[in-house]
Amino acid sequence: MITEGAVGNDSDLALALSCSEGQAAACESFERQYSDILRNVLVGRGATATEAEDLARSILSDCVMGQPGRQPLLQLYHGRCSLKSWLITCATNRLIDLKRMGKFRGSLPTREDEPSHDPFDALAAPTPRQSEPALTQLLRDALEDALAACSAEDRLALRVVYLEGVTQREVARMWGCHESKISRMLEEAMRQIAERTMNHITEKDPWLSLTWDDFLEMCDASRTSLPL
């Protein structure tokens, strides 16, 4: 279960391992540590108190027991992010599923001109992306849209500075301007990416309450295997 990148989350990984082996004390400790956190985060992100309670209970139970015929979810935790971030990301994904299912129930398309028509036929066919978890799909779409709206110049500057190790002084030389202008340019580009991303999310799921830091935390956690 221990994998590259797990450094720093050793105690989380040990707890996950003990729980998935069914050790009673570890399971109690796990539930004690995370039930309030999950409930509070879910309410903060737009769940009702009842939804938060039900989702937190089901996630914690699935983590240690697993659903019928499936392994305990904690066996999918590899320690690449903190257990807290991982659980919060899983909980948010389930919340999105739940809320969208509720919306779906109330808005099945109708075609009055064809009385025998099955309304489910009017639903769009699944696309390959629909095999992705709802949350992953939401994060990805929001981010891809935001990056596509960035200028080629901004994207290049962001890449060479943050991914390729080119200094802002070197970028300033390339652009023929002062270093402080590059610093402002990078800051503004990131601000716009954040703004566009969050706008996309608000448009898609208006009930979902997230901050940019929440978004980053879930992107980080979503790189690891999410239990779905």
Partner: protein, 81 residues
């Protein structure tokens, strides 16, 4: 704390089907020359815009630009790297 842009890029990388199979076709010599000038800061605004647009279409060429920039740190010949 990892840079936010790094986190975003790492997240998107998992969906890139070309990560391991992207062809390393070298850029045309004209683009190579422009990258050398860009690295030194000797490219006009219009040429820079055109080059940035080309690099957006061919992100695999950015590594070469980076190599040019870094080669100027210590006077290293980029072709020797």
């Amino acid at each position: 704390m990892t840079e936010p842009f790094q986190v975003l890029t790492d997240f998107l990388k998992q969906f890139d089907p070309q990560v391991s199979g992207r062809s390393a076709e070298p850029p045309p010599s004209e683009i190579c020359e422009k990258m050398k000038l860009f690295a030194k800061g000797d490219l006009s605004r219009e040429e820079r815009d055109r080059l940035c647009a080309a690099l957006a279409v061919h992100p695999e060429w950015v590594k070469m630009l980076v190599r040019e920039v870094k080669s100027l740190r210590g006077g290293t010949d980029p072709d020797a790297l």
